[in-house]
């Protein structure tokens, strides 16, 4: 078992952080009316407690325990907390180099899946952007309000259906004897049914669709606040339509673009339902591997290590992209 000290730290940490937030709020009061004065003591206390507890119990603590777990060896329950339960880098070593008994230099399978997941997630985000930008622009700048409401409803309605069910629906569409193949065969476009699932078309379609809304809405919000006169001004000055988008609309919507792309990238790289349900036999997405570490290999420490690697890679990637596009984290959350 874990030492009693760890438990105490974990139990006391929420209160320590709440205290820190309280002190920060009090300090803020020095310049103008502070947080407490603005909201009243009762509301301020509630906000601090609610946000503090939520952030800590739901986000920070589980992550900390995952990180801690990832540095432990896999041991039978009886040996936990025993002399062999020491901190180790074994799980991370395994990710890079594989089993100690294997002959390969690198853990090719897992590294390949990891790289593919990152690259494919970037492509999915880019594809979603290409798909959503014209739609978002149309809704934000051209469409009459009535049509905007209809489009929003059409966009949102499918998401009332559970994510797993949606994935299965894609399976029905893309299966060898599925809807799409029936249509293609019936129209005489193909002679043999196409194995869309084996070619991973189904998986990528499912992944692209899964987080589409998270691309549409930030884009829509960003473009909607662009005064239409700016587009007209660019046009009046002689710009062709594609230049107007490149020079005026996209730079203006940059925070929304970054926000949408980051959300889609992060969620796609961590998606589980679409790869599990729609992945072909040869497809190797990283999240099912993490899932297998936990529930097939029952190697929780190793699963935790894999999850940490994925999380760190994604956060690092996103921060790098933001730095390169000279956007701050605050701007994309606006």
């Amino acid at each position: 078992m874990r030492s009693a000290g760890t438990h105490w730290v974990l139990l006391l940490l929420p209160f320590a952080v709440i205290a820190a937030l309280w002190i920060a709020a009090t300090l803020e009061r020095r310049g103008g009316p502070g947080f407490v004065r603005r909201n009243g003591a009762v509301v301020a206390t509630y906000l601090l407690l609610a946000v503090g507890l939520w952030a800590l119990v739901m986000i920070v603590l589980p992550q900390i325990s995952m990180v801690e777990l990832s540095f432990r060896p896999k041991l039978p329950a009886a040996q936990m907390g025993g002399p062999r339960d020491v901190y180790t880098l074994e799980n991370y070593r395994y990710f890079l180099f594989g089993s100690t008994v294997s002959t390969a230099h690198w853990n090719v399978t897992h590294l390949h899946a990891f790289g593919l997941t990152i690259v494919a997630s970037v492509l999915v985000a880019a594809f979603d952007f290409a798909l959503c930008y014209p739609l978002a622009f149309y809704m934000a700048q051209s469409a009459p309000p009535r049509r905007v409401r209809l489009l929003l409803l059409l966009l949102i309605a499918p998401y009332w259906v559970n994510e797993i069910l949606r994935a299965f629906a894609f399976r029905i569409i893309f299966a060898t004897s599925g809807l799409l193949n029936t249509l293609l065969l019936g129209a005489g476009v193909v002679a043999q049914p196409v194995d869309f699932l084996g070619l991973d078309v189904g998986m990528y379609a499912g992944l692209s669709y899964a987080y589409l809304l998270l691309m549409v809405f930030p884009l829509y919000n960003a473009i909607e606040s662009l005064p239409h006169s700016q587009i007209e001004a660019a046009r009046d000055l002689g710009a062709a339509w594609w230049r107007i988008h490149l020079d005026v609309v996209m730079p203006y919507a940059r925070p929304g673009i970054a926000s949408g792309c980051t959300l889609v990238f992060m969620l796609t790289s961590g998606a589980l339902a679409a790869p599990l349900v729609l992945g072909g036999p040869r497809s190797l997405w990283f999240t099912p591997i993490v899932y297998d570490r936990f529930y097939q290999a029952f190697n929780w420490p190793q699963g935790a290590a894999y999850a940490c690697v994925l999380l760190l890679a994604c956060v690092g990637f996103v921060l790098t992209v933001l730095r390169l596009s000279r956007l701050s984290l605050g701007q994309i959350t606006r």
């Binding site: 006169s229 700016q230 001004a233 660019a234 009046d236 000055l237 002689g238 020079d247």
Partner: protein, 358 residues
């Protein structure tokens, strides 16, 4: 002089609504031409029709003799200055000014030379590197002018560009706009609902109402010789006395109104017996006698420095205003005093009633 912009029986309809109805007009090269009218009179639609954002439902727009039908705003020899200015906030001042050249594929060096020349023209030479948001309202105004001039348009269109500025700056920008126009010698077409702007800056003014042009002329003729009741009432302060023509002679008409019989100029040659309105401006209404006389009671005095406004009420309740110049201030009556008002026949004008509900 050649016609630079020609509107030939232009009508614009949006669905069932007619925004502009049969407007024909020739605007000459190098002219400062204003469209003046209340909001919703169709003046902005005319501007958007000339710039190409709106196609006329009927009639033709010709610029430099060339029919503009089917030519988009990005390919017309016009540049529009928007009411909101519509500067690009994510570009520097210099990039804003150079944008029109950039999309035309003008090289960086040639672009910089033009931008510098134009920034000097609008007195912003050292501000090129700044962000648009860091400039003051008047400076942003001048950036918008420079940006529009950079594409070397044949015609510059201005859509109430001064309306967002405060009074002092607005008056300053009037002189500045006029000076810039003289310097570059371009045709300026200016849209405004502010008669002061139109009267002070323009070579000619078109007064618009309900999608139609009521009168075209220079500032003096618009103010001193209005041709319709709408123009007389919209441009400048005036007292309107409705009545009926009872006699005409020597270019003058005598109108029977609720306050009595008055004589005034009769430019529209109204015949005896028709309904008419007699207009007399407050600055021509004096305490004391005159060719035309009526009695009224002083209600209120408003002192405004150079002039004093006098609000009056006639016996039948008609409200009148008179304006006393500073020199005549000693003649100002106290509120409540009864007095006689007089005005000369040449200072009053008799026009047909405005067709407000056509």
């Amino acid at each position: 002089m050649t016609a630079d912009v020609e509107l030939d029986r232009v009508s614009v309809r949006f669905g069932g609504f007619t925004a502009v109805e049969g407007v024909s007009l020739k605007i000459e090269q190098g002219e400062f031409f204003s469209f003046l009218g209340p909001s919703g009179c169709g003046k902005t639609t005319i501007l958007r029709t000339i710039s190409g954002f709106v196609e006329p439902s009927q009639g033709a727009v010709r610029i430099g003799g060339r029919d503009m039908r089917g030519i988009g705003p990005n390919r017309r020899p016009t540049a529009l200055i928007f009411q909101s200015l519509a500067l690009f906030p994510m570009m520097s001042v210099a990039d804003n000014v150079g944008y029109g050249l950039r999309v035309r594929g003008v090289g960086r060096r040639a672009r910089r030379a033009t931008v510098e020349r134009l920034l000097a023209l609008v007195a912003l030479s050292d501000q090129g590197g700044k962000r648009v948001d860091d400039l003051s309202g008047g400076q942003r105004q001048r950036v918008a002018i420079a940006r529009a001039l950079a594409v070397e348009p044949q015609v510059l269109l201005l859509d109430e560009p001064l309306s967002a500025l405060d009074l002092k700056l607005r008056q300053h920008m009037r002189t500045e706009l006029r000076a810039i126009q003289r310097r570059v010698g371009l045709t300026f077409i200016y849209i405004t609902h502010d008669q002061g702007e139109a009267l002070t800056m323009s070579d000619r003014i078109a007064v618009m109402n309900r999608g139609r042009i009521e009168q075209v002329g220079d500032a003096r003729s618009i103010y001193e010789a209005p041709q319709t009741g709408f123009v007389a009432g919209f441009v400048g302060e005036t007292n309107a006395l409705p009545g009926r023509v009872v006699a005409v002679a020597d270019g003058e008409a005598e109108v029977a109104t609720a306050l009595g019989r008055f004589r005034g100029r009769n430019p529209r040659r109204l015949m005896a017996g028709v309904a008419a309105v007699l207009f007399v401006r407050p600055e021509f209404l004096h305490p004391g006698g005159g060719e035309n006389e009526c009695a009224a009671e002083a209600v209120d005095l408003a002192y405004e420095g150079s002039v004093t406004h006098l609000a009056l009420r006639a016996a039948d309740g008609t409200r009148l205003t008179a304006q006393l110049a500073a020199a005549a201030r000693s003649a100002a009556p106290a509120p409540g005093a009864r007095l006689r008002l007089g005005f000369a026949a040449r200072d009053a004008i008799v026009l047909p009633p405005a067709a407000t509900d056509a």
